[in-house]
Symmetry: D2
Subunit: 140 residues, 4 copies
Amino acid sequence: MLSHDLQVRVRYAETDQMGYAYYGVYPQYYEIGRAEMLRSIGFTYRGMEEEHGIMMPVASMNIRYLRPAHYDDLLTIRTNLRKHPVDSITFHIEIFNEKQELLNSASVKLVFVDKNNDMKSVSCPAYLSEAIATAVNQNA
Amino acid sequence: MLSHDLQVRVRYAETDQMGYAYYGVYPQYYEIGRAEMLRSIGFTYRGMEEEHGIMMPVASMNIRYLRPAHYDDLLTIRTNLRKHPVDSITFHIEIFNEKQELLNSASVKLVFVDKNNDMKSVSCPAYLSEAIATAVNQNA
Amino acid sequence: MLSHDLQVRVRYAETDQMGYAYYGVYPQYYEIGRAEMLRSIGFTYRGMEEEHGIMMPVASMNIRYLRPAHYDDLLTIRTNLRKHPVDSITFHIEIFNEKQELLNSASVKLVFVDKNNDMKSVSCPAYLSEAIATAVNQNA
Amino acid sequence: MLSHDLQVRVRYAETDQMGYAYYGVYPQYYEIGRAEMLRSIGFTYRGMEEEHGIMMPVASMNIRYLRPAHYDDLLTIRTNLRKHPVDSITFHIEIFNEKQELLNSASVKLVFVDKNNDMKSVSCPAYLSEAIATAVNQNA
């Protein structure tokens, strides 16, 4: 439906003594992948928080680690959105190295909460739904 | 089969601007939970790496985020082992806050690789299987 | 004047491919060292933020890295307070390994800001000054 | 002598509950700043490690935190080299936000160790000295 590629280099900080990118670093890659996907359709997570008080905590995540990433590897974070968000939004992520080998695949489901209403759950805000719908139509 | 509790406080470094422990911090909690479970049965991950050259990369992980953890919360990381490891080892983790509320549950599957043989996969080393079997028998 | 020891194990997450605790991890050790020193004198950083709206951003930091820390090392974080805080508070930290070798020494200077007044600088709150003065007197 | 600018966005992972980039994140910014400076003169830290077995642990670091960085800020990391390296190499770093406000300034001193000789200290390798000298001459 929507797909976005972001490139990022593995930091030394992100390696562990196995010489791999630490398994707990991947959620950061997913975070910047989805933020840049949303920015590419004219929407910033920051704006949603600052202007509307809506935050998006993660509800669940599934990760498969297929091959290690190494220091200084230039990774491609491919973020896919397959369904229109309603009460939650789920991103599907694939990470490739420079040889186009698939290193990692994941899905991350986030919900919407209102920080001005005691962090209660809300539906996907209309401005986000509409930005996604517009982008999907432009791609079609 | 085997269960181990570890307590850890949420660091300021681990919070994000939502005021929650960042969702990418949890893999660190799982890491220290399983390391301390293994230490409690007389086995150290460090020793396995240093003496035997066996490393344990993560193959897959599933996480459900139920309630947020906050700065300075004293968390209980409950690490459970439900099956004897053969080609992989899977830990099931539950994290509770001081009110005994379940914040997070996860499963983490790791494999065994030999750093002296080009990081090739190997079966669970006998000394680890035996340490687990002994601990399970003592608990029975 | 005041000194406090805290023990912490180096996490796998904190290592890098050199096999050392990453140099950027040390600020986390200083953070938990000073938080536990303050807790030991009956004061929590969390309470100061939640009840009084006072936050303590870091203004400057100097670090000397003398010897590496390794995975699973049980470190002692020694946090020292040498002067009564006025407009800022400076902690001096030494980190030792299990052989009592000094690995790292640092000083961290923090200031006080009021989150209910646009993060403006304020002096050290009286309840913190007094908690420190009381602890120093008890030690004398 | 040599100066290099790198842009990086503050990750959500890097914020803390103050809403600031956590003070312990800055060493990661310095790391990627110096890696990219060296890459810009035809030299990679990764190559030095892999081909020559030379690693560069940090010996000391001084940081001044002047203004906070916030989530999604597009930072400019300016890395300066003021002296030819001999037994150590010192980088001076300034970090600016999009308004060109100086947020942070630091110096980081690294040494050279030989992983094939028990991590013993060595002088700056000739290929690095020469790459720097060539780049400085081209700038002159």
